[in-house]
Structures are given as structure tokens and as C-alpha cells.
């Protein structure tokens, strides 16, 4: 049985800086990594494989740099990787990416579970999982915070914020997970070193019969929230300053609530 885990290459959010003047994120030259919640999906895949057997296959669509980024997934425990590489795939919209991933998965064999994060670290559209399920005509379980598999059945708890829902489905099934499902492992050095030698399959969109149509979504603006600081400076000496600070906090309604 194959456990497919879809991962997305994104900029490493910890390295992104906001340009003060324009409030735009500086994305040029920022190191790439795989998405945060994708790592939870991977961890869950590896955990299930260790229990059920089979293979974990990391699947990703993106630019040439994916060759490097995918090593992270392999180091975390994926056995193989499938990549769909084309420059236009970097930042492509969810419908295109979902089609590419679905076609690649379909091409490579027997599907057990397809795992994804609930949303990507950058755009968080949360569409790719449901779209893949639709394209491949599979059942889907979203927002999963705990997952068990027994024989051919998966049992999942969905975190719907105001309640938990427990559902069951037969494999093959698409599952998207939330970050609290597990704590992704930090790969061991020997695993990182072995990652480079694991099997990788690369497809072009054309080989999968996927057409990359012009974008239907236009980004109008991408700005960090405005941070209005009060810039109050108290410098009368500690005794007076504490009083002034408390008064200022009170007048903002921040104390004594």
C-alpha cells in the first residue's frame, strides 16, 4: 500500500522580512523549505507506514529547486519522491497544482491514503486536498487531528473548532491534517545524508497531460498588517513613570478588564 504525502515548497517563513517602508514581504533569495503543516502530514504518513507497512511517497509540484527541497521530506522518512517540475508550477494556483499532483499519483500505483496539510504555509487556500479527492473520485476527510488505520479502514477525528467529529472511511481516501495531530520529527543527520540517495521520479506537466492555463486569480495586494505604535516615552523617574504607564494602559482599556 502506498501512502502519498503532498508537500509544498514555500519560502521559509522564519526568514521572511517585512520591508518597513512598503510593508511588503521580501521574498527574493529567501531559502525554501516544505510547508509547516505538510510536515505534520509527513510525520503522520511515516507513523502509519511503520504500523501498516508499505511505502511513503512524497509528492510535490514546483520549480527546479524542488530537487533540493524534497530532500527534507525524504530525510523525515519518505521512502520515495515524485516531483512535477516546471517553472510555471511555482506559485501556480490550487486547481493547477491539484491536477498535477492527482495525475502523478494516479500514474504511479495503488493508492492507500493521500495525506496533506490543511493548508499551505504561504497561501493557505486549503483547496488542494478537496480538489485531488474530486479529481480522483475519492472520499475525503479534512481537518484531521487524530488518525487511526485498521485493515482497510481509517478512523479520523476532525477538529471543527467548536466540536470534534469522528468519521470512518474505506481506503483509498484523502486526508488533510491540522498541526496538532503530531509533533514532526527533526531528521537525524544520517537520515539527511541518506535522503540524497533515495529514489526520485520527475515528471513534466506535459508527461502527465496537465495543461498549465493562465492564472485566474490575481493578487491585488500582499502586505503585512499595519502596526500602529503609540510611541509613549516615560522618563520622569521610576516613581512617576509607573503611575503614568498604568494611567496610559488604563486609558486604552487594557487594565482592569
Amino acid at each position: 500500500m502506498n501512502i502519498y504525502v503532498c508537500v509544498k515548497q514555500t519560502v521559509d517563513l522564519q526568514q521572511v522580512r517585512i520591508r518597513k517602508e512598503t510593508r511588503e514581504p521580501v521574498l527574493d533569495g529567501v531559502p525554501l523549505t516544505i510547508g509547516n503543516i505538510d510536515k505534520n502530514a509527513l510525520e503522520e504518513g511515516v507513523r502509519l507506514r511503520d504500523k501498516l507497512g508499505g511505502k511513503v511517497i512524497g509528492v510535490s509540484a514546483g520549480s527546479e529547486e524542488l530537487n533540493d527541497t524534497i530532500k527534507e521530506a525524504l530525510a523525515m522518512g519518505a521512502d520515495e519522491a515524485i516531483m512535477i517540475i516546471a517553472p510555471e508550477l511555482e506559485g501556480a494556483e490550487s486547481s493547477t497544482v491539484a491536477m498535477a499532483l492527482a495525475k502523478a499519483i494516479e500514474k504511479t500505483g495503488e493508492i492507500g491514503i493521500i495525506l496533506l496539510g490543511e493548508g499551505s504555509s504561504d497561501n493557505y487556500s486549503g483547496q488542494v486536498g478537496p480538489r485531488i479527492a474530486e479529481i480522483l473520485d475519492l472520499p475525503q476527510i479534512t481537518y484531521v487531528s487524530s488518525l487511526e488505520a485498521e485493515g482497510n479502514t481509517v478512523k479520523a477525528v476532525r477538529n471543527l473548532e467548536d466540536c470534534f467529529e469522528t468519521v470512518e472511511a474505506e481506503m483509498p481516501v484523502v486526508v488533510s491534517v491540522v498541526s496538532e495531530i503530531n509533533e514532526p520529527r527533526i531528521p537525524a543527520v544520517t537520515q539527511i545524508l541518506k535522503a540524497g540517495r533515495k529514489p526520485k521520479q520527475i515528471y513534466s506537466p506535459a508527461e502527465l497531460g496537465v495543461e498549465i492555463a493562465g492564472s485566474q486569480i490575481k493578487t491585488i495586494s500582499n502586505l503585512a498588517p499595519e502596526q500602529d505604535r503609540k510611541r509613549l516615552l516615560f522618563q520622569e523617574g521610576v516613581g512617576q513613570d509607573v503611575k503614568s504607564l498604568v494611567a496610559a494602559l488604563e486609558s486604552e482599556g487594557l487594565l482592569g478588564r
Binding site: E21, I186, V189, T190, I192, L193
Partner: protein, 428 residues
């Protein structure tokens, strides 16, 4: 224990250069770096002289992401209330191949790492080497994140105060006078603003050195380098002077004061600080070098002490690159003999002796001593400033003869001391 041909600790210029050469030879090499990515933690002022190292990594310079080639050299002597600057620009420096470039390590090291990886080197980031494994006195591997990794040779390229060399028993504890501390800010400016402010055309760049009151009489100085769309601004101060000289100061306050000088304010106005870093610099010269080889181990770059204080500038990057490459060459020789003992690896020292690295270290062996003279950081800048101030001042009364103005500023005793410093200066 998994075993590899070579383990390199530290993906700075020394480690990456060694890895690149080894990988090109088809040797299985692993680089372990604690930073998020190569260049993330590496601090430099920002100038690389390419000529000395061109031959060591012959095929990389055409595509290397360097910032600006330096055509303008400036020196500024600062007193508390005035400054004297000299600006030298040369057409020759604007001719290819350029000899001197400004660099940003976050860009350059990452790129060099990618080249090494393309050549086949295996890079592991976000992992610190915590120990060295020894067997009968011979280094046989390292420990990182609780895992043991073996190798025929470990190359310590982990920078100043090398932990790996220390664990391997190769470092004699450092003395404060052999080290300086450097602080640096990278301040982003729109490209055109920067070029207008500094009077630059195209990719030309400025390197400006500062000495005098900015270190408050302490051994050291300031620097400013123009990058493509940012300036690197910082200072270097000797650690012994920081410890001993009264009243004590905190270095970062010295940098803050420096940034508030009217000479600096307009240059960085409106700029956005995007990087702030601090780092120790080995400055012991020849006497400060550590042993360079042992059984199963080589030490290269800052880890070995290969940084030279040439007056007010620090040179370390060329030595890091060249020593890294020579360490790789020594390993290639040792592999041919299949013997990784100290006696075989000692050819590393020989390679260094025959290269500009040890030759420069011998040539400049007196520099640290001569420069350790507070008059360079206090008296001379003030003397020059005061003299020029008097020469350029026109008061209501009659103006003094130029020779009288000079005599007024320079007593006999001072001229004698100046002569002595000058003689000392001839040694460097």
C-alpha cells in the same frame, strides 16, 4: 557508525572551499553546519580581494554573486569634533578582472554551498558538531545531535575559537590580545540613492576605513562598504583594550555613537537596518596560529587563526578560501597514500608555507605589535584634525604662517615620538 571519506565542520568560506575541491575529485565529503543555511551566521566586514584566491578556485569567479567592485578607497581619521578624509579612485580598479569586491556572506556562502553540492558534496545544515571522536590519539569522527559519524579526515573549519580543534586537543587557550570583536550592520538603501550618495557609477563600489575617536583610543577602527543596494557599516575593537582600558565601554554603544556622527548620518539616512551581527576575530598574526594538522585532522580558516589585521582592515576571507583548498589538496595526497596520519597530512603546512598565506603571515608578523599603539587611535587623528582646522581657519586678526601653525600643533617631543612610531611602522 556511518563512515565517510571526509567530514568538514563549518560551512563558511574555508569549509565550502575545501568541500568544493574534494567533491570535484569525487571524494565523499559531508559538511556539517549549525546555521540555518551557509552564510546565515557568517560575519565579515565585506571586502574580498580576488587575485590571491583566483587560482585556488579557478572556475567559480565568473558567476559568483559578488556585490560591487571597489574603485574608491577612502580613509577617514576621526577626532571628537572633526575628521580628515582621503578618497582615492582609480580607473585601473575599474578594469576587468576586478581585484577587489564587496561581498555579503548570506548571498555568497549560500551560492558557494550550492556549487559544492552540485559537485557532489553533502551538506547538512541546522546541526552542530558537539564532540570529536578519538581513538588512540587519532581523530576518527565527530558527534552531532547524538549521532556518531566517522571519517578518514575531519577538517575543522568552524571559525574563530574553534571548538573542534579544541576538542581534538590542538588549541592553546587564547589570550585577549589575540582577538578583537567586530560589530556590523547591513543597512538597505535603494540602489540609485546609494549610488548618488556615494558618487558611484554602475557596479563601482567604495571601501571606507575609519580610525580615531570612534574607538575612544582603543585598538581598532570602523568600516563602511557599499553593496549593490545596501551598506555594510561596522567596527572592530581589540578585546584586551576593551577589558583593560578605563573607563569601560560597551562596544555596541561605540557603534551607536559612530552611526550618529555627522560624517555617517547622511550616508545611511532613510536606510533600513536588515542585519545586525557581532563576531570575534582572530588577530594574533603568526604567533596566534594554532597547530594546523594532527592525526586524522586539519584546521583551516579562522579556526586556525588565519585572519590578519592589516592596519585598520581585517583580511581573513582569502586565507579561509586558500587554506580550505590546501587542506583539500593535502587530503587528496593522503588518500593516494591511504595514510591519514599527521606525518602525511603535514604536507598541508608545506602547501601553506609555499603560498601567499604563510608568506603574508610572515611578512606582517610585526603588525599586531606595531598597531597596538594607542597613539594611532587617539593622538594622530586628533593632530591631523587640529592642524587642518587651524590651517583652514581665518580669524579676524592676521593669519599665521603655515610653518608656525604646524609648529604650534607639533612639539619637539611629539615629533620625536612620531618618528619612533614611523620607524616601527616601517616594520609592517
Amino acid at each position: 557508525m556511518d563512515k565517510f571519506d571526509v567530514i568538514i565542520v563549518g560551512a563558511g568560506l574555508a569549509g565550502l572551499s575545501a568541500a568544493y575541491v574534494l567533491a570535484k575529485e569525487g571524494i565523499e565529503v559531508v559538511i556539517i553546519e549549525r546555521g540555518d543555511y551557509p552564510g546565515a551566521k557568517n560575519v565579515t566586514g565585506g571586502r574580498l580581494y580576488v587575485n590571491p584566491v583566483r587560482q585556488y578556485l579557478p572556475d567559480i569567479w565568473d558567476d559568483a554573486p559578488l556585490e560591487r567592485h571597489v574603485t574608491n578607497e577612502m580613509v577617514t581619521m576621526m577626532s571628537p569634533d572633526n575628521s580628515v578624509s582621503m578618497r582615492f579612485r582609480s580607473d585601473k580598479f575599474d578594469q576587468k578582472p576586478y581585484h577587489s569586491y564587496t561581498v555579503l556572506r548570506a548571498t555568497f556562502d549560500r551560492w558557494l554551498a550550492a556549487q559544492a553540492e552540485k559537485a557532489g558534496a553533502m551538506l547538512v545544515t541546522k546541526n552542530r558538531v558537539d564532540d570529536v571522536i578519538k581513538e588512540q590519539g587519532k581523530v576518527i569522527g565527530v558527534v552531532t545531535a547524538g549521532e556518531e559519524l566517522g571519517a578518514d579526515v575531519v577538517v575543522a573549519c568552524d571559525g574563530v575559537l574553534s571548538f573542534v580543534a579544541e576538542k581534538a586537543g590542538m588549541i592553546v587557550p587564547g589570550q585577549p590580545r589575540n582577538f578583537a570583536v567586530g560589530l556590523k550592520e547591513v543597512i538597505e538603501l535603494p540602489r540609485t540613492t546609494l549610488e548618488d550618495r556615494f558618487g558611484l557609477t554602475g557596479d563601482e563600489g567604495v571601501a571606507q576605513m575609519f580610525m580615531g575617536s570612534l574607538t575612544q583610543g582603543r585598538f581598532g577602527g570602523g568600516f563602511l562598504y557599499t553593496n549593490k543596494a545596501s551598506v555594510s557599516l561596522g567596527m572592530v575593537v581589540g578585546i584586551r583594550d576593551l577589558i583593560e582600558r578605563k573607563p569601560g565601554v560597551e562596544v555596541h554603544l561605540l557603534l551607536d555613537e559612530f552611526k550618529e556622527r555627522p560624517e555617517i548620518v547622511p550616508l545611511i539616512k532613510g536606510g533600513e537596518p536588515v542585519e545586525y551581527s557581532a563576531h570575534v576575530i582572530p588577530e594574533g598574526g603568526l604567533a596566534g596560529l594554532t597547530p594546523l594538522f594532527g592525526d586524522g585532522i586539519l584546521v583551516a580558516g579562522d579556526a586556525a587563526g588565519f585572519s590578519l589585521n592589516m592596519g585598520i582592515t581585517v583580511r581573513g576571507m582569502e586565507f579561509a578560501i586558500a587554506s580550505g583548498v590546501m587542506a583539500a589538496r593535502a587530503i587528496i595526497e593522503a588518500r593516494a597514500k591511504n595514510d591519514f596520519s599527521a606525518s602525511t597530512l603535514s604536507c598541508y603546512q608545506q602547501f601553506l608555507e609555499n603560498s601567499f598565506v604563510m608568506k603574508d603571515f610572515r611578512t606582517f608578523q610585526h603588525t599586531p605589535h606595531v598597531l597596538d599603539n594607542s597613539r594611532f587611535y587617539g593622538y594622530y587623528p586628533q593632530f591631523a584634525g587640529k592642524l587642518l582646522e587651524d590651517l583652514y581657519t581665518v580669524d579676524s586678526g592676521p593669519k599665521a604662517k603655515i610653518s608656525d601653525t604646524i609648529r604650534k600643533n607639533l612639539s619637539l617631543g611629539e615629533s620625536l615620538r612620531m618618528g619612533k612610531d614611523l620607524l616601527g611602522g616601517l616594520k609592517i
